[in-house]
Amino acid sequence: MHRGKGMKFVGDSRIQDRSERNTIPKDYSEYPGRTEAFWPNFLLKEWLVGAVFLIGFLCLVAAAPSPLETQADPNNSAYIPLPDWYFLFLYEQLKFEYAAGDYVIIGTVGIPGLAFGALLLAPFLDRGPGRRPSKRPIATGMMLIGVIATIWLTYESVAAVDWDERAEYSVENAVEHEVDESHPGYETFVNNCMSCHGGNLEGEPGLGPDLLDLPHTAEVLQEIAVEGIGDMPPGMFDGTDEELEQLADFIIENTSTE
């Protein structure tokens, strides 16, 4: 029985060309030494390595659930953007004086374009015959600088982030609380307090704490609204005395989470 192995068809006739049926290609063995058949010997080993890798990967997945923050709110002006970690080096270099502001093109197009362009065209820039890193010091040096710069920029960017504060954005830490929007003090609250304490008293990460389960009396709340407390500056409230009373009532009536 004829078994494939390089059979050729004659023109478009679909008749097998039997003149070269014994020209079986030679085995691939360019390099002398202890070669091993890919199928099935080496593939089995690769399979085992893959299985171990997969177990490790699944341990990571099981140990660290993928993060999800609260639903996108385009009106949230306080949010500090953070790209995925492998874009942080690009993000970080935009903070340098000559890669930002008037020079932002240098940071967004110039430096990345040069770096990635050189990476793309590396075989045509480094044309010498030597393959050892020591035989091509310029290419090796440029790559080392690039790698170190990337790692360093990523590190700088990660170190500058307050990860505890970012954890508050997570959906698990989001406060589910609803306020009575028909309360007469609600409008005053929206105008004076909402930008820092959230539309439902849930607080705004980085700006203001939540106003849930407050122990204060109405008088103390009125005082805080006018004079501030802790990091909260005085003079945040702007309105009439009646509005101030309604505001304190609103907070008292809606502060409980039970």
Partner: protein, 224 residues
């Protein structure tokens, strides 16, 4: 029975040479970690492919639940994450796989670079490999928006501003990606979804095919 079936197909389509091209070759000693442990550096390319397969499969399952629409995108992800059996695992695989694949490509690139394996005759394969790297970064960028949470929304806004800063064609690039020169919204989400799920994977598969055909043609580079 199977042999007969194989012979029947082989007689008509001559599939044996295809099989030979894919699997019937020797693995040289210098890339085999069983002989030289330091040869584990040759695993990074294969692991990149492995994680890519994980990404494709987990991504296919994610689209069974995901809805690319600003009203429902976040809710569908939240539902998948908290209500669907093993949904957290599937999303976790896709989320962490995106990071692991970048790490693996990075290591694979460094291996090829420092061994000078891109030198003649393998220049084209290096170029295709770097293009694969770019496509993978593009997949990371577009995939980041899809859960439609605050992190996704604001990071994408920054990314689009960076695209806008490109001289002359910046606004056109931003409009192409976001669907509007100003608004990041419903159009942006559907476009990023289409790019993430159709356009970039198509480019990825084409480039991967080229990458693998070239390595089978040329064989792996010799020892240093």
């Amino acid at each position: 029975m199977l042999q007969k079936l194989y012979d029947w197909v082989d007689e008509r389509l001559d599939i044996t040479p295809i099989w030979r091209d894919i699997a019937d070759h020797e693995v040289p000693e210098h890339v085999n970690p069983a002989h030289h442990f330091s040869a584990f550096v040759y695993c990074f390319g294969g692991l990149t492919f492995f994680v890519t397969v994980i990404q494709v499969l987990s991504g296919m399952f994610l689209t069974m639940y995901y809805v690319p629409d600003i009203e429902n995108a976040w809710n569908s992800v939240e539902y998948l994450q908290s209500q669907v059996a093993h949904g957290q695992i599937v999303r976790g695989m896709h989320h962490w796989g995106a990071s692991v694949v970048i790490v693996m490509i990075f290591l694979h690139t460094l291996r090829v670079f420092f061994q000078g394996a891109y030198k003649k005759p393998r220049e084209l394969n290096w170029v295709v490999g770097v293009l694969l790297f770019f496509v993978m970064l593009g997949l990371g960028f577009t995939g980041y928006l899809l859960p439609w949470d605050n992190k996704a929304f604001f990071a994408t806004q920054v990314g689009l501003e960076i695209a806008e800063s490109v001289p002359v064609i910046g606004t056109d690039i931003k409009t192409l990606l976001a669907g509007d020169p100003e608004i990041v919204g419903a159009q942006t989400l559907t476009r990023f979804f289409a790019i993430h799920v159709f356009f970039l994977p198509a480019a990825l598969f084409g480039l991967m095919a080229l990458h693998f055909i070239m390595i089978r043609r040329q064989g792996i580079s010799g020892p240093l």
